[in-house]
C-alpha cells in the first residue's frame, strides 16, 4: 500500500484515466429541465494536470461532481458517459459500487475543504471512518499511509491526526483534504477551488504540494478554479468553461499565450496582474449567465462577445479541433478577426 508513494513518476504513461464523453447534466427547475453542463467532453490522463477554468455558474463544479456521479438533486446526468479506467462508466454505477469508486479510484477535494471536515471528530477518527466505509482491512496500514502523505506535505502528521478541524489553519485543512483524497490510493485527484480561501503564501505552498503529489503518484489531476493564475502555475492542459460548455481546450501554455476563443481572451484580459499597464485591463461587459438566463439557441457567449455576428445568434458552435491539439467552440476566426 505504501509503495506507490515512493515510485518515481512512470515515464510518459499518458493513458486516459477518465474520459468524459458528451456529458449533459440538467437541473430540474420551475421552467423544466435546464442544462448546467452541455455535451462536455474531457480526458484526464495519468501524469497530466488539467485545469478547468470558469466563472460561477459556468458548470465547472457540476462537471467535476459528475465525475463522481454525485450531482446533487434536483440535478441529474441526462446523457453521456464518464469512463474511469478499471471501473467502467461511473454514470451507470449505484449503491455500494458507486461509493467504493468515490474516494477509492477517484479522490475528491471539495471546494472550501475547510468546511468539508467533520467539526466533531478529529482528523484521525475521520480517516478511520473513511477506511471502514471502504472496507479497508488494514487500518493501521491506512494510518501509516496517511502519516506518510501528511509528512510529505509538510504537516506534523501526529498532531494533525489528533486535531479537530478548527485547530488547523486554512492551508493545513486543505492539505488534510488532499491526504484524505489520496489515502486510498486514488489514481485520479479532483480539486475543486483548492486555494480559494487561502492567502497568497499558503496558496503557493498548496500548489507546490499538488504538483509534487501529482508527480510522485503519477496521478491524473483535475483542478477546478476561477483563477487563471492558479491554472497557469500548475496545469499542463487547460479547459475553459462558459455557460455549461467547454469553449476552449488545449495545452495550457499555448492557450494562455494564444487564446483562440474570445471568452478566454477576455478572461485573461480581465485578470488583475502584478505587471503591465493597469489601464489596459478590461472587465467583461455584462454578467455570466446562470441556468435561467442561458441562451437556448446560438452561442452562449454572444451577448458579451466583441466578435458576435449573425451566425452566432442561430447556431451553437461545436467544439472542434481547429489546429492539432487545440479545440474551440466559436464561429469567429481563431486569431480574433470577425468571421
Amino acid at each position: 500500500m505504501t509503495e506507490t508513494l515512493q515510485t518515481p513518476a512512470a515515464t510518459e504513461d499518458r493513458s486516459a484515466e477518465v474520459s468524459v464523453r458528451d456529458l449533459t447534466v440538467v437541473y430540474r427547475t420551475d421552467r423544466g429541465e435546464l442544462p448546467a453542463v452541455s455535451r462536455a467532453g474531457i480526458e484526464l490522463r495519468a501524469g497530466e494536470i488539467t485545469g478547468l477554468v470558469g466563472e460561477s455558474g459556468s458548470g465547472k463544479s457540476t462537471l467535476a461532481l459528475s465525475l463522481l456521479n454525485a450531482v446533487p438533486a434536483p440535478g441529474r446526468i441526462a446523457s453521456g458517459s464518464v469512463e474511469v479506467a478499471g471501473v467502467g462508466d461511473v454514470t451507470k454505477l449505484e449503491g455500494k459500487r458507486l461509493r467504493r469508486v468515490r474516494g477509492g479510484a477517484l479522490g475528491y477535494v471539495f471546494q472550501a475543504s475547510q468546511n468539508s471536515l467533520n467539526p466533531l471528530k478529529t482528523v484521525g477518527k475521520q480517516l478511520l471512518d473513511l477506511g471502514r466505509s471502504h472496507e479497508v482491512e488494514d487500518l493501521q496500514g491506512l494510518v501509516r499511509r496517511a502519516r506518510e502523505l501528511a509528512e510529505r506535505m509538510g504537516l506534523d502528521a501526529d498532531r494533525v491526526l489528533d486535531s479537530y478541524q478548527h485547530e488547523l489553519s486554512g492551508g493545513m485543512r486543505q492539505r488534510v483534504g488532499i491526504v484524505l483524497a489520496l489515502v486510498l490510493n486514488a489514481r485520479v485527484l479532483i480539486l475543486d477551488e483548492p486555494t480559494t480561501a487561502l492567502d497568497m503564501i499558503s496558496q503557493a505552498a498548496v500548489l507546490d504540494i499538488v504538483r509534487a503529489v501529482h508527480r510522485e503518484n503519477n496521478l491524473a489531476t483535475l483542478i477546478v478554479t476561477h483563477d487563471m493564475g492558479v491554472v497557469s502555475e500548475v496545469a499542463d492542459r487547460l479547459a475553459v468553461m462558459y455557460g455549461g460548455r467547454i469553449v476552449e481546450h488545449g495545452p495550457a501554455l499555448e492557450v494562455l499565450q494564444r487564446p483562440s476563443h474570445p471568452y478566454t481572451r477576455a478572461l485573461i484580459g480581465a485578470t488583475a496582474r502584478i505587471v503591465g499597464d493597469t489601464t489596459r485591463a478590461r472587465a467583461l461587459p455584462g454578467r455570466p449567465p446562470d441556468l435561467t438566463t442561458l441562451a437556448t439557441t446560438g452561442c452562449v457567449f454572444r451577448d458579451r462577445c466583441p466578435l458576435a455576428s449573425a451566425v452566432c445568434e442561430e447556431e451553437d458552435p461545436a467544439l472542434v479541433e481547429w489546429t492539432p491539439g487545440r479545440y474551440r467552440a466559436c464561429h469567429a476566426d481563431p486569431t480574433g478577426d470577425r468571421p
Binding site: 489553519s169 492567502d199 497568497m200 497557469s232 496582474r273 502584478i274 505587471v275 455570466p288
Partner: protein
C-alpha cells in the same frame, strides 16, 4: 482625512486548556489617508488587516494610539460624540452574498440608511428616493431594473455594487474595502475596482483597501500607497508600484513571490523567495517578527526588533530619502519605509514575457 498614529490592539484570551494567551493583532500602525487618496494594506490571513478595518469603522476598539478624523482625536470622545465621525467612514464588506438581507429589496436596503441620514440633512421623502436612484446610477446599475429586486436576483458583481451604493447613502468621505473583490467573478472584478477608482476621482472619496491579493491593489488608481503588514506590524510601506517592483523587506519579497505567474505571458521574477517555515503566531520574539521564517536572518535580527525607517537611512544615518537603495530603473523612491536590518531590493514579481 484620517490619520492613525501608533494604533495597537491586543487581545487577551484565557482558554480552559491553553491558559492565558496574548495576541497582538496590531502593534502600532501609522498611516495617513488624505482626501481622495488610497492606502492598501496587504498581508497573510491573521496579520491584523481586518482588525484595522474594523477599528476604523468603529466596530472594534483599539487600546493604544490615536485615531484622528479631520483633526479630531476620537479616543477621547464619548461613544455618542464619536458616532458622527464614524458616519464618514463606511465599510464595503467582503461577501456581498451575506452582507445584504435576502428578504429585503434593493430599494429597502438603500431606504433605511437614507432615512437615517435624512434626519441629519432634512432631506424629504422624495429627495431620498431620488438619491437612491442616483446612487445606483453612480455605481453602474439601472435604478428602474434593480430597485425592486431582491439580492438573490442579482449577480455577485451587481450585489457588490449595491453594497457600495449602500455605503454611499450616508455621504461618507472614506470607504474601507476589506477584500471587496475576492468573492466576485473574475470577469467582473476589474469593474468593481474601476468603480472604486472612479469614486476616488469623481467624489474625492478616500479608500482604504485591504486585501491579500496584491495585484488588485494596483487597480485602485494613481498615487496609492501600499502597506505590508505582518503579525500586526507594518514592515514595509511606500508607493504601490515602487513596493511591488523593488521591495526591500524579505517578507514583502516572499509575499510577492507567491503571486502566481501567468505563464506564457509572464516570466517568474529573477529573485523569487520562499519563507523558511510557515507562520507560527504563538512564539513571541524580542527580535524581528519575521526572523524565524527569513532566509537572510542574522543574530542581530533575533535580538532586536527593527523599527520602520525611511529607506536609505542607516542606523542614525543622514536623512537621504530614496538615495542609497540601488534598485535599478525603479525611479524615485518616494516615501519608502521598511523595518528590516538588512534591506536589499530584489525583483521578485513576474516580468512580462517578450512576445
Amino acid at each position: 482625512m484620517i490619520e492613525a498614529r501608533n494604533i495597537t490592539r491586543t487581545y487577551r484570551t484565557h482558554g480552559a486548556f491553553t491558559g492565558p494567551r496574548t495576541v497582538h493583532a496590531l502593534r502600532g500602525v501609522d498611516f495617513t489617508l488624505p482626501k481622495g487618496g488610497a492606502v492598501s494594506f496587504i498581508g497573510e490571513s491573521g496579520c491584523g488587516k481586518t482588525t484595522l478595518g474594523k477599528i476604523l469603522t468603529g466596530l472594534e476598539t483599539f487600546d493604544g494610539g490615536e485615531l484622528v478624523v479631520d483633526g479630531t482625536e476620537l479616543s477621547g470622545l464619548s461613544p455618542r460624540r464619536r458616532a458622527p465621525y464614524f458616519r464618514r467612514i463606511q465599510m464595503v464588506h467582503q461577501d456581498p452574498y451575506s452582507a445584504l438581507n435576502p428578504t429585503r429589496t434593493v430599494g429597502q436596503i438603500l431606504g433605511d440608511p437614507l432615512r437615517m441620514r435624512a434626519k441629519e440633512t432634512g432631506a424629504s421623502r422624495r429627495e431620498q428616493e431620488d438619491r437612491a436612484a442616483e446612487l445606483l446610477e453612480l455605481v453602474g446599475l439601472q435604478p428602474d431594473g434593480v430597485l425592486g429586486k431582491y439580492p438573490h436576483q442579482l449577480s455577485g458583481g451587481q450585489r457588490q455594487r449595491v453594497v457600495i451604493a449602500r455605503a454611499l447613502t450616508v455621504d461618507p468621505e472614506v470607504l474601507i474595502a476589506d477584500e471587496a473583490v475576492s468573492m466576485i467573478d473574475v470577469s467582473m472584478r476589474l469593474g468593481i475596482l474601476s468603480l472604486l477608482r472612479d469614486l476616488r476621482e469623481r467624489l474625492g472619496i478616500s479608500l482604504l483597501f485591504i486585501t491579500h491579493d496584491v495585484a488588485t491593489a494596483r487597480y485602485v488608481g494613481e498615487g496609492g500607497e501600499l502597506h505590508v503588514i505582518y503579525r500586526g506590524q507594518v514592515i514595509e510601506r511606500g508607493p504601490t508600484d515602487r513596493v511591488i517592483q523593488a521591495p526591500v523587506h524579505p517578507y514583502t519579497q516572499c509575499l510577492l513571490s507567491a503571486i502566481p505567474v501567468l505563464r506564457g505571458i509572464e516570466e517568474p521574477g529573477p529573485d523569487r523567495l520562499v519563507p523558511l517555515a510557515s507562520l507560527d503566531e504563538r512564539t513571541d520574539t524580542p527580535g524581528c517578527l519575521f526572523a524565524p521564517r527569513c532566509p537572510f536572518a542574522t543574530d542581530a535580527c533575533t535580538a532586536e526588533r527593527p523599527a520602520l525607517v525611511r529607506l536609505g537611512d542607516g542606523a542614525g544615518g543622514a536623512d537621504d530619502p530614496g538615495g542609497a537603495d540601488g534598485a535599478a530603473g525603479a525611479g524615485d523612491a518616494g516615501d519608502h519605509r521598511h523595518a528590516c536590518l538588512h534591506p536589499e531590493a530584489r525583483h521578485v514579481v513576474a516580468v512580462e514575457a517578450a512576445v
